[in-house]
Structures are given as structure tokens and as C-alpha cells.
């Protein structure tokens, strides 16, 4: 995908700050990065409330939620039984990086 790799062959995604995965109860399953745990506190709630907002319009469950702050963007991706939260720098090319992360 054109991303560089470190010495161990792990792909390096420019602008990626961290990621976290939580189950439906909010328990952290996996976490990487410094700020990721802060995202974990609200990740499940983000997913649930976004589902309800979509429900007002008759829309099915959330597929992807972007929470855009001044200096970073958090992306919530619901997966079967868990939620993946990914933190990006504000200028990161999320549409290019996110699919690669989800594939990995």
C-alpha cells in the first residue's frame, strides 16, 4: 500500500497515534499508543449513541464514526462484538490508512 516498514517489518502509518479495541462492556482488549486508553473510555458510548442518532433517521447501525478534534481525529469502527478505536493526527490521510489498518 506504499507504507514504510520498520526493522521488524511492521508497517508504519503516517499520522497514526494509537489504537484500542474494546468489547461491548467497555473492557479493553488491546491497546497501542499513549492516548488510546482515553479513547477507550468513550469508545463504546460513542458507538451506542451514534447508533441511536442514526436510528432517529431509520438508519442501520454505525459503520464508521469520525470524531474530529483540533489536533486529532478519533475513528470508531464497530466490529462484531467489539469496537476498534483509532487515533490519527489531524492531517493524516484517514481514508487511505484506515483500510490498511483494518486489513491488518
Amino acid at each position: 500500500m506504499g507504507f514504510t516498514e520498520d526493522a521488524l517489518g511492521t508497517p508504519q502509518f503516517p499520522g497514526l497515534l494509537g489504537m484500542i479495541e474494546c468489547d461491548e462492556a467497555g473492557n479493553i482488549l488491546h491497546s497501542e499508543g499513549d492516548d488510546a486508553e482515553a479513547l477507550g473510555q468513550v469508545l463504546v458510548f460513542m458507538h451506542q449513541i451514534s447508533d441511536l442518532i442514526g436510528e432517529s433517521f431509520g438508519l442501520d447501525g454505525l459503520e464508521e464514526g469520525h470524531f474530529i478534534g483540533k489536533h486529532m481525529t478519533a475513528v470508531c469502527v464497530p466490529r462484531g462484538g467489539s469496537d476498534l478505536g483509532v487515533l490519527f493526527e489531524s492531517k493524516a490521510n484517514i481514508s487511505e490508512i484506515l483500510p490498511s489498518i483494518l486489513e491488518g
Partner: protein, 180 residues
């Protein structure tokens, strides 16, 4: 004014509806599709506001949210105490939408909307009643004080600066004389 900016958002290809609400969840502008039942708006605004509050307090303040669903996308934006919700197709040009909604958020202010006009409208009603000089003389003087009321009006009419200037110099001269 606000309608103009909201309609500009609706002009962006792919945008299906827009609504604006304030910090208390009151609907200010509703240009959502007809299938959206307005009675559901209370729930919608409450949920959107709780999302903002929760993220602000427990994570980092985020003014913009993009919620992607399989059929549609929902954009939530916040500025100046005003919340903008845009319902759009996934094919919408996000850059265009951001530019147009930036303008809308810049020009739509809570003071121009919903709750604000009420206090503004109530103020003009109260001031005429509050100032005792204007209200009381008109009501009381109806029997006798018609005379004092008239002079007051005459004074107001004769207020032209030229006459007052002619009157003022006299006491000034006398004061000078007494002082010396």
C-alpha cells in the same frame, strides 16, 4: 439570513437535509427530509448533545462528527452555541460541504435565532412602560396636568440647541459677576 446559509448547504450535491438546533436542543431550522418526523427531534437533539458533552468531558473536545451508516452519512458540527446536522449521501463532496457549512456556522448565531428574539422582543415592550417620566406624565396629567405635560412636550420640541445656548450664557455671566 440563516435561511440563506442553510439553503446553500442544501445546494451541495448529495445533501438531503439540514437542521440547526441550539445548546438546549431546541430546533431552530428544520430542512430535513419529510420522512423525518419532527416529533423525533427531541430524541435526536438530546442524543447529539449527550454525545458532545460526553466526548468533551471524557476525551478531547470535538466540534465535528462524521457518522457513516450504510445508507447515509450524518455530519454534526458545532460552533457559537449552534449545532448543525447534515444528512447526506456518501457521495457528497466533503470539502464543499465543509466550506459551505463553515459559512453557515459563522453567520448563524444563537442571538439571531430561536430563543434570542424573545428577549429582544420583550425589551422594547418594557422600556416604554418602565421609564416613569414618559409613562406617568401621560396618564396622570390627563385631568389637570395637561399643562405640565404640554410644556414638557414643548421643551422637547423647543430643544433646538440655538435657544438653549441663548439661555445658558446669562447664568454664566451672572456667576462671573458674583464671583468677581
Amino acid at each position: 439570513m440563516s435561511d440563506k446559509f442553510v439553503k446553500n448547504i442544501l445546494d451541495v450535491p448529495g445533501v438531503e437535509g439540514v437542521c440547526v438546533f441550539d445548546q438546549e436542543g431546541r430546533l431552530i431550522v428544520n430542512e430535513l427530509p419529510s420522512f423525518f418526523v419532527e416529533e423525533l427531534f427531541d430524541d435526536l437533539s438530546r442524543r447529539a448533545l449527550s454525545l458532545y458533552e460526553t466526548v468533551d468531558e471524557n476525551f478531547v473536545p470535538c466540534d465535528d462528527y462524521l457518522l457513516k451508516y450504510s445508507e447515509r452519512w450524518i455530519f454534526l458540527r458545532r460552533s457559537n452555541g449552534v449545532f448543525l446536522l447534515v444528512l447526506a449521501l456518501s457521495t457528497v463532496n466533503r470539502v464543499s460541504l465543509k466550506m459551505v457549512s463553515n459559512l453557515a456556522l459563522k453567520h448563524i448565531k444563537p442571538s439571531k435565532l430561536g430563543s434570542a428574539p424573545k428577549p429582544i422582543a420583550s425589551k422594547p415592550l418594557t422600556p416604554p412602560g418602565n421609564p416613569p417620566p414618559a409613562a406617568t406624565p401621560v396618564q396622570e396629567p390627563s385631568p389637570q396636568p395637561a399643562a405640565p405635560a404640554e410644556p414638557a412636550q414643548e421643551e422637547a420640541e423647543t430643544e433646538p440647541a440655538a435657544r438653549k445656548r441663548a439661555v445658558r450664557p446669562r447664568p454664566k455671566r451672572s456667576y462671573r459677576g458674583s464671583n468677581y
